[in-house]
């Protein structure tokens, strides 16, 4: 029999202090029964002698000091799992949100998981073709990678994420994949967009969705990505599937974390976010990867919106330090109608070099990618120079770089939302563009590849 307490002494923001408790453990899950009989879920954030500090996921409105009943459950937050979760929609705390029945669990797992032993990891090196040139060609995604999209309000990050979910495939071999989608504080329309897109392509049957909308309790968002990742780990490492996890929007998650931290009167770090934001984010992002001897994998696509397009804001900044690269969207490209507006220069895939080359994509891939990067950077510099000095002041070489930059944006970056380019197509477009640059300047590509591919594609 679980003991019931009616000893709430304080309610501050999402937090509640319960006194005269006995045997309460740190991290324990808590049920709170409100005077009207409704039940809320909470978690113990701190125990000090006989006082327990409880964070309520669904907020504290309606909670009352004298009448609320608290029941400590003696376990951490768990999620019931079986393969039946595929095709289902849950709320941010893992309760069914569609009309389906509740899950008959094969097992229940603590949503915090345990860190993967670095010794047990297998290095991600399998190329995933997303059909998007700027990703495949320049910022290649590999299986088991965590590659966030740094976006900003008004940019088409959802369309890009959906396109990736639609088109992502490995060039050779089996396809046994699933999508886990976690929405944190996004609007109904955005969540619906994904749901509809998954439905149209049939992906919905292999998708698990955890939806916490903008009007759902904010603190619940702290649990949502962990619910999703625990489900993903189960599907990937126990059921041998390749799982693509889309987490959107991480900015809302961090704000929920800040709310709790502020209510606890913790010393704030940059911009009021808690000092442990890095550690906290890493316990989410580091749950991507591959494990030796396991067939499945978890590839993560977190999406975050940069406040004021500022990449140095703590959320994108700390994310970039944990994830294996980033895809950055550019407002300038978007304004010019270029889709996908991926800003290739600051974008990066750290695992690119392990996923490309002979046998994986093609032997000239690395050289072409480096050359395109370097020439596009030079082209953009030349264009800036032209703005100050006028086109006429450019040397012939600078002019060809400037021409290259324009062509690159229109032909390489720009593509259709339903255009699925193979890696070969992407590389041919690249070689085609490199013809604009004098051959002597192609220093990043080995001579033999220039001989073999330039002008022959």
């Amino acid at each position: 029999m679980v003991k019931e307490y009616k000893t709430v002494s304080e309610i501050i923001g999402p937090l509640m202090l319960v006194e005269e408790v006995e045997g309460v453990k740190y991290g324990e899950i808590t049920e709170v029964e409100l005077p009207d009989g409704s039940i809320r879920t909470g978690q113990v954030l701190e125990v000090n002698a006989d006082k327990a500090l409880v964070q309520l996921f669904e907020g504290t409105s309606g909670v009352n000091i004298t009448q609320s009943k608290i029941r400590f459950q003696g376990r951490g937050i768990e999620i019931p799992l079986s393969l039946d979760i595929l095709g289902r929609v849950f709320d941010g705390l893992g309760r069914p949100k569609d009309d389906g029945p509740s899950i008959m669990p094969e097992k229940r797992l603590n949503i915090n998981g345990n860190p993967i032993n670095p010794f047990a990891r297998d290095y991600p090196s399998e190329f995933i073709q997303t059909g998007i040139s700027t990703i495949d060609g320049l910022n290649t995604l590999v299986r088991g990678q965590k590659l966030p999209i740094f976006s900003a309000s008004g940019l088409p990050h959802n369309r890009i994420a959906a396109q990736i979910a639609r088109q992502a495939k490995v060039i050779k071999g089996e396809e046994n994949f699933a999508v886990v989608f976690a929405a944190m504080g996004i609007t109904f329309e955005e969540a619906n967009y994904f749901q509809e897109d998954f439905r149209k392509t049939g992906a919905i049957e292999r998708a698990v969705m955890f939806i916490n909308l903008a009007d759902d309790p904010a603190i619940e968002r702290i649990a949502t990505p962990r619910m999703a990742l625990t489900a993903a780990e189960y599907i990937a490492f126990e059921k041998d599937m390749h799982v693509l996890v889309i987490l959107t929007d991480m900015t809302n998650y961090c704000e929920a974390l800040r709310e709790v931290s502020a209510a606890r009167k913790e010393i704030p770090g940059r911009r009021g976010y808690p000092g442990y934001l890095y550690t906290d984010l890493s316990t989410i992002y580091e749950r991507a990867g591959r494990i030796k001897g396991k067939k499945g994998s978890i590839t993560q696509f977190p999406i975050l919106t940069m406040p004021e397009d500022d990449k140095t804001h703590p959320i994108p900044d700390l994310t970039g330090y944990i994830t294996e690269g980033q895809i950055i969207l550019s407002r300038a490209l978007h304004r010019r109608g270029i889709y996908p507006p991926i800003d290739v220069l600051p974008s990066l895939s750290r695992l690119r070099d392990k996923g490309i080359g002979d046998e994986k994509t093609r032997k000239d891939h690395a050289g072409v990618a480096n050359q395109l990067f370097s020439d596009y950077a030079k082209g953009k510099e030349a264009k800036e120079l032209a703005i100050i000095l006028g086109e006429a002041a450019l040397t012939d070489l600078d002019k060809s770089y400037s021409k290259f930059a324009d062509a690159f944006e229109l032909k390489f970056v720009q593509q259709g939302e339903y255009e699925d380019r193979s890696i070969k197509d992407t590389l041919s477009i690249g070689w085609d563009l490199l013809k604009i640059i004098p051959k002597m300047e192609l220093k990043r590509i080995k001579d033999e590849y220039i001989e073999e591919f330039l002008g022959k594609e």
Binding site: Y26, R121, R270, G275, E286, T312
Partner: protein
């Protein structure tokens, strides 16, 4: 770290990695404790009356008031002895491979795995006789640990006396007694192949020496422009995506140190996996054996418990000092010290200490300084003097790439080499993205003797000339931005050309290209020397009034651009380029005369 406990207390409070326990009266600061019956490892970091604040090195979920806390009365220590090389440890020296064997793919709690294997036997060869007098740090014998590491067995520091018994050559386990020592006051102390040492205390040595030998890293911008000395300290700050980790990995691979200690402190799990998979495959250019045979890894990734991250830096440097005491040159990489500082900040916040800058504890600078101060070239404490060194290279990850960050600033106060990474260079995929204008090395003077004598007398002069050209380029670019390139004099335009060649053909180095990833000092010298030679010849041609366009179009430059891919065994190919330069220059001059 087993054994009896000196006393038992009770948990009062649990808040994340911080546990407060009461009833601990005999415990000292920094004693190791075991928390609850799960026996989670923790360390006392604050004492008030009989209450102790404990940072717990493992996840504390499920702990509650009333549970027991056992104090060992001993400080956090590492085990030192054969078996260290090729190991991968977590922040408190638990072998991750054994943890995987025990608990599977995830790290669970309450594991008690010793740092060194108790089962494995080593072939011990004694080098001392009975009745010899010994002193802390003296060798009593050795074990050939790997093909490249001769692991000398030392008398533990601060111990001296007479050997009254020593076993003959044979296979022993590391906890078997191999010798018996009688101290001056008649006490008999058994000696093993291993001993322990508290991580927060530097191992003793007799004297520090100024570093004066280069730590060749095979990275051209580092060795040529901003060299590190053996026993020196360096930092690599930079925003994310600028290639800090690649620089650290490159140094771990190619630095000419005998032992590498690589600490992955709060960074990505996959990066450690990368090292684990790659190092056994790569060949050390000096010994021809796999790089793993000289490497010790300490991995406390970002999602592993934060308190153990704080300890990982100390665990790593203590292991490094141990090998230094054997007379090795050790290179230690810490990636990243910012995560270490953040771990301190997190614990400090939970202790409710008054914060300093950016929420970091006020003692941040002291801690950073004392870490780097444990590096150095030393004469060991042993009776027979040996020279060993620990070089420390720390990555720093400042928020937003802002170098005014307290961790960067506190680090710059103590380190002698600064390799500043620049996101602009990284965007242009110029790697290593070390900015040549803002970086510096304070070892130039002390290394110039060695470089000029052992490599080439023009080493340092060339280095300064290259820097001057790069500096000149930066100034000229300001002008070009205002008035365009054509308004520059031919001489200035040539400077821009040469600077470009230095940047693209010399400084730019591809870590993933097998022939470019490592450049010997000789190769580095030859490439730069050729570029400067072309510069001089071109300058002469300008004086002869040969049009700049023709000078710039010298065909030999195409070969210079590919010189970095020349195999180390065929360096003559680079030497021959000078002849070609002269030939082409002569042709230009002759053509000019015939045109006249």
């Amino acid at each position: 770290m087993n054994g009896d406990y000196i006393e038992t207390g009770k948990i009062v409070k649990v808040a994340g990695p911080l546990v407060i326990a009461s009833g601990l009266t005999k415990s000292k600061m920094f004693d190791v404790v075991r928390v609850s019956d799960l026996k989670l490892i923790g360390e006392i970091i604050e004492l008030r009356g009989d209450t102790a604040s404990i940072q717990v090195y493992e996840e504390t979920q499920g702990l509650g008031p009333g549970e027991a806390v056992y104090c060992t009365g001993k400080p956090l220590s590492v085990e030192l002895g054969p078996g260290l090389i090729e190991s991968i440890y977590d922040g408190i020296q638990r072998p991750l491979d054994l943890i995987r064997e025990k608990t599977g793919n995830y790290i669970t709690r309450g594991l008690n795995v010793p740092g060194l294997s108790r089962e494995k036997t080593w072939n011990f060869i004694p080098t001392l006789q009975k009745n010899e007098e010994v002193h802390g740090g003296d060798f009593i014998g050795y074990v050939q640990e790997t093909a490249v590491v001769k692991h000398n067995i030392m008398i533990p520091p601060n111990l001296s006396g007479i050997i009254i018994d020593i076993l003959p050559e044979g296979s022993y386990k590391i906890d078997e007694q191999i010798a018996l020592l009688k101290t001056a006051n008649g006490e008999e102390r058994p000696l093993y192949m291993m001993h322990t040492w508290p991580v927060r205390i530097g191992r003793p040595f007799s004297k520090k020496l100024p570093p004066n030998q280069p730590m060749a890293t095979g990275q051209r911008i580092i060795d040529m422009l901003f060299p590190l000395a053996k026993g020196g300290t360096a930092c690599v700050p930079g925003p994310f995506g600028s290639g800090k980790t690649v620089v650290q990995h490159q140094l771990a691979k190619w630095a000419n140190a005998s032992i590498i200690v690589y600490i992955g402190c709060g960074e990505r799990g996959n990066e450690m996996t990368d090292v684990l998979l790659e190092f056994p495959e790569l060949e050390d250019p000096q010994t021809g054996h796999p790089l793993m045979k000289r490497t010790v890894l300490v991995a406390n990734t970002s999602n592993m418990p934060v308190a153990a991250r704080e300890a990982s830096i100390y665990t790593g440097i203590t292991i490094a000092e141990y090998f230094r005491d054997m007379g090795f040159d050790v290179a230690l990489m810490a990636d990243s010290t910012s995560r270490w500082a953040e771990a301190m900040r997190e614990i400090s916040g939970r202790l409710e200490e008054m914060p300093g800058e950016e929420g970091y504890p006020a003692y941040l600078a002291t801690k950073i300084a004392s870490f780097y101060e444990r590096a150095g070239k030393v004469i060991t404490a042993s009776r027979k003097e040996r020279i060993g060194s620990v070089s420390a290279i720390g990555a720093v990850s400042p928020p937003g790439g802002d170098f005014s960050d307290p961790v960067v600033q506190s680090t710059l106060k103590v380190v002698k080499v600064f390799w500043g990474l620049d996101s602009k260079l990284a965007y242009r995929r110029h790697f290593p993205a070390i900015n040549w204008l803002s970086s510096y090395s304070l070892y130039l003077e002390s290394l110039s003797d060695f470089m000029n004598k052992d490599i080439d007398k023009n080493w340092m002069p060339n280095r300064y000339r290259a820097m001057e050209i790069l500096q000149h380029e930066a100034e000229l670019e300001e002008i070009v931005r205002l008035v365009g390139k054509d308004s520059l004099s031919p001489k200035d335009q040539l400077v821009l050309e040469t600077a470009k060649s230095i940047r693209e053909d010399f400084l730019h180095q591809i870590a993933f290209d097998p022939s470019d990833t490592y450049s010997s000092l000789h190769k580095q010298f030859l490439i730069l020397d050729t570029i400067l030679f072309i510069h001089d010849v071109s300058m002469d041609l300008i004086k002869e009034e040969i049009p700049l366009g023709k000078i710039i179009a010298l065909k030999v430059k195409e070969h210079v651009a590919k010189a970095k891919y020349v195999d180390e065994k065929e360096l003559d190919k680079i030497k021959e380029l000078k002849v070609e330069v002269e030939k082409e220059a002569k042709e230009l001059l002759q053509n000019l005369k015939t045109e006249d």
